[in-house]
Symmetry: C2
Subunit: 327 residues, 2 copies
DNA sequence: AAATACAATGTAAAGGATTACATTTAGTTC
DNA sequence: GAACTAAATGTAATCCTTTACATTGTATTT
């Protein structure tokens, strides 16, 4: 690759002038600028980002941390992030943490080394202290999942309310015995959605039984299927289940189909997120739509603001109950 | 962040010694090494990758280029790539090209700037010449989709054969009128799978009619659904369809379900790839399993070899016909 | 004890870009 | 035309690390 030196020599000017053409064109005479631009084109020169970053302590890369891309929930968020980031002239680095600290550390190093200038995290469960410390030094924004802390703004939805509404909807449909397919309560959304579920039950004076609660090992189709398997093996009198993630709901639905259990008549199923596949299942899945694309976009807006040193406020977006065939 | 200077001062040695402790520990006396390591720990120092790369002209980042992560097909591939890359001590940069050259260029710049040292591409349709030129200068490996060229090794499956087998299977099941849901023939796999399909028909002395061929706008559930819609509106006598991607097949399946058309009795459906969701559909989808995870792993193996200057051979992996309920 | 070898460490250049400061050039004013 | 100003351009330091080469110190050989 040609360097700025090569361009300077070719155009018969100093490196400073070339640099100025690149970064502050108005400060150089038109004739000179044309000459330099010509050389740049002829040599097919593009500035070395390393040299530039090293000097400027700034890059145009954003970190996007998420547990696993196999969870469809992140898909639309990432699309929103990418689109918006590109608009601002940033690139994104998609990082799967697998909820493991050592993985996260590798990516945090990119921040420390100024290879990236900020991060959007969707998996803050790992180590709160590490996250809080990083956020002191580097711009961080939380998307969907979050911990409350100074310097750690978030964009999310009101999970408790959404879960409350979903459960209430089921109750109004006449369901008296509603199971909850949850994930590890280390996740905030797991705790919140459980809260909402309980609040609705309480309002209807229903005391949940111990074996209405199930926890999936992870957020995957497989796990959803497994949980439904154990529900059916154990407990036959539930008339509805609320899964805190579409991935789990779809897995559960599959198990019901396999066993020939009629959905929604014998068992109603609701999910959460409104991932694309929920309209492809049989029957199509009732779920809570999260504005994922928008969440992604807003995360970037917030992060850019933080990078520019502005104050940023937490944002809670609207959700929407999508009623389809599974209830 | 502390720099190597700070560490040197703190430990009372020169920067060269610190650098040696980091990169070639055996070349420094044990006592000194201990001292330096102590300082590194105390200051929580980690080397600045920019400075290092700038000097070494090497980084530990691999580019992964794909059209869109929303196509589930790439999911497992990426998982394989990531796992293997991490094993080698590399990180990956996931890049969605949206099959647009200008997007790709942004990412190619990262290579030119030594921010990344090699690339795995799954979308070589964009501009063959650009790709060939890049591959002259930088290590490239093609995964799944490929163009034949020197310096551009690939790992893939035998799409033609797989399509031939699938079609033959349908024919043996007694299907006489089999539709093909394809994508743009700018994709090699689209051409190959069509070839295989035609070969099987020929073998059974069946002359395909013009309106057995359909092309989706892109590889998405939505498009699959749309295509099936137009098939059903137009042509009612097909007894089976072969979709060249599971995404399309699942969309098609949905449309059949919606219209109350019995699968497989009124219409059989087969897909291609064996993405995770194919076992969750109703009915579960017959498809061709591609060893996606393995393809990802092998891509990385190949790329690392290329980076190290070794010669690399093309690899064709085995596929497998997965017969399920949709046929 | 002088000469030699080798291990350990230090010095300084290099890598590519930006930019404060210095210098040159051209234009304005009297 | 001399003195001054402002614009245009150049020089060189800087960012952080690695490493060739230089230097120091210690041990071994004769």
């Amino acid at each position: 690759m040609p360097t700025i030196q090569d361009v300077a020599k070719h155009a018969g000017v100093s490196v400073a002038t070339v640099s100025r053409v690149l970064n502050n064109p108005s400060s150089v005479a038109e004739l000179t600028r044309k000459k330099v631009e010509q050389s740049i084109r002829e040599l097919d020169y593009s500035p070395n980002i390393l040299g530039r970053n090293l000097r400027n302590a700034e890059s145009k890369m954003l970190l996007v941390l998420l547990p696993k891309i196999s969870n469809q929930f992140y898909l639309k968020i990432v699309e929103g992030i990418e689109e918006k980031a590109l608009e601002y002239g940033y690139n994104i680095l998609l990082c799967q943490t697998h909820s493991k600290l050592e993985r996260e550390k590798v990516y945090f190093d990119l921040l420390k080394n100024q290879l990236a200038v900020g991060a959007i995290t969707m998996d803050p469960t790992i180590d709160r202290q590490v996250l809080v410390n990083m956020a002191k030094r580097y711009p961080f924004v939380q998307c969907s999942e979050y911990v409350s802390s100074k310097n750690l703004p978030y964009v999310t939805i009101d999970s408790e309310l959404a879960a409350y509404q979903v459960t209430k909807y089921l109750l109004k449909q006449g369901h008296q015995r509603i199971g909850l397919i949850n994930v590890s309560e280390s996740f905030l959304y797991a705790r919140d959605r459980k809260k909402g579920y309980l609040r609705a039950l309480k309002e209807f004076h229903i005391e949940p039984e111990e074996d209405w609660f199930y926890s999936a090992n992870d957020v995957s189709l497989e796990s959803g299927q497994q949980v439904m398997r154990s529900i059916l093996n154990k407990k036959k009198d539930l008339t509805a289940v609320f899964a805190v993630s579409d991935m789990l709901a779809i897995g559960a639905l599959k198990e019901l189909n396999t066993r020939g259990i009629d959905v929604p008549n014998e068992m109603a199923v609701v999910g959460f997120d409104k991932i694309e596949f929920t309209s492809m299942t049989y029957p199509s899945l009732t779920t809570v739509a999260q504005p994922m694309y928008k969440m992604g976009e807003i995360s970037v807006d917030m992060l850019i603001k933080k990078i520019q040193g502005e104050e940023v406020e937490d944002i809670i977006l609207e959700h929407e109950l999508i009623i389809r065939e599974s209830t």
